[in-house]
């Protein structure tokens, strides 16, 4: 199982490094969205819950782009058939795709969050890096798990690009709520305020529930 997952992750990373399909698109989308928010809200700097909301809405929408692309090569170039013929555990595909999506999200955030701080965050707001990293990590796990499941569900439909965002966004509303509520005090104007740790519990619970659920049902999406 571990070897299979490693091989599949290596394959996806190699594809991404050769074609640069998902990560640059997600990153450019994030920066464009920041610019849109700058003019849509007509504010040159943000703080508090408004800043948290803008950051999380942007990251979630960028993640949807990644979900849309996640299984396209598998479907269009026979990756599913090849995988099903191989004598390996089918859950390995789920684990590897979730890890790949998680990796994409982390790389995108590595650039998008500094860009957000530079472009939009009010100077002086937000000096609580460890807490922010914890929120980002927990939220990313949830997005990766749900995104992999929905990506696999949607990729076999005719209206792939429409169905995946429609299904993923309502499912990700709890992540948006918890992540934005947890991030808002970190971006408060006069330096970080007290951090509401209960939202981390909600995020962890969400990750756990959907992780187990996706683990249980993913095999049924692969049968031929």
């Amino acid at each position: 199982m571990r070897g299979t997952v490693a091989a599949l992750v290596r394959k996806d990373l190699r594809l991404e490094l050769r074609a640069f399909e998902s990560v640059p698109a997600m990153l450019m989308f994030s920066v464009s969205t920041f610019v849109l928010f700058r003019f849509g809200l007509d504010r040159s700097s943000l703080e508090g819950d408004l800043a948290a909301g803008v950051l999380w809405v942007t990251l979630l929408l960028a993640a949807v782009l990644g979900m849309n692309r996640l299984f396209v090569a598998e479907r269009e170039q026979g990756g599913f058939d090849g995988f099903l013929m191989a004598p390996v555990d089918r859950t390995a595909l789920f684990v590897s795709k979730a890890l790949v999506l998680l990796g994409f999200l982390l790389v995108v955030e590595l650039a998008a969050v500094p860009a957000f701080v530079l472009l939009l965050l009010q100077p002086g707001a937000g000096q609580a890096l460890p807490e922010l990293l914890a929120v980002l990590a927990l939220a990313d796990v949830g997005i990766a798990v749900v995104g992999t499941l929905i990506g696999a569900l949607g990729v076999q439909t005719r209206a792939r690009d429409l169905i995946i965002p429609l299904m993923a966004l309502p499912l990700l509303v709890p992540v948006a709520i918890a992540a934005a509520e947890a991030t808002a005090p970190l971006f408060a104007a006069g330096g970080a305020e007290a951090f509401p740790a209960r939202w981390l519990v909600v995020l962890a619970l969400y990750d756990g529930v959907f992780g187990l659920l996706a683990y249980a049902v993913f095999d049924f999406l692969l049968e031929e």
Partner: protein, 243 residues
Amino acid sequence: MTFGRGLRALSIASVVLICGAFALVFFWAPNDADQGFVQKIFYVHVPMGIVALCGFVAGGIYGIRHLRTGDRAHDLRSYVAIHISLVLAVGVLLTGSIWARAAWGQWWVWDEPTLVSFLIVFLLYACYQPLRFSIEDPERQARYASVFAIVAGAFVPLNFMAVRMADSLVHPRVLGTTGGAMPGDMRLTFLVALAGMACLFVTLWKYELASKSASIQLRSLKRRLAGEDDLAPLQRSTAPQQL
């Protein structure tokens, strides 16, 4: 397959319970001290909401049974449960809006967790039919729809919890541990209305199941009589067309 068994008794029971509930609502239950007559929409709105959510979860449970057994009849049951719950959910949003306008002065109130969670659940389930419609292979359609029904069914309670934590307490917690300060006659009326709505749901569910399975059987009989060639090909559809 006989989905129609017991339909007559169920239909009579729903008519009696719903007529009884309305009689109690209009002639027996007292007017609310604050809101007056308009509060009576509560006896339609809340039972409808509870039954719709239970229907969504039931769709998920039939989804699990479909995946475990491979019996397509369970997919049909899951589909019909979610289908009727969606119709009820539209009713819940409409009656809730009317009630909010009368009681709080606005058509929509965002700081109200129950309303917001219900809207999110509704938006999610609104994708169920498009998902089915965009998968052509009937076997795959059934399998994928069951996966969606299971995930969405588990999402319902989790979503309610998350939204409720981002909290306020405008909405009365009718059956909660602390709320529910309903006088006895209101409570009885509410319970009769809830039973009536549940009965109506089961009746409609069985009617649609009976009708769908009858047309599936009719088609297979036609095929046996006339042969595959004379039969019009199946149109794309959201509903299961084979068992």
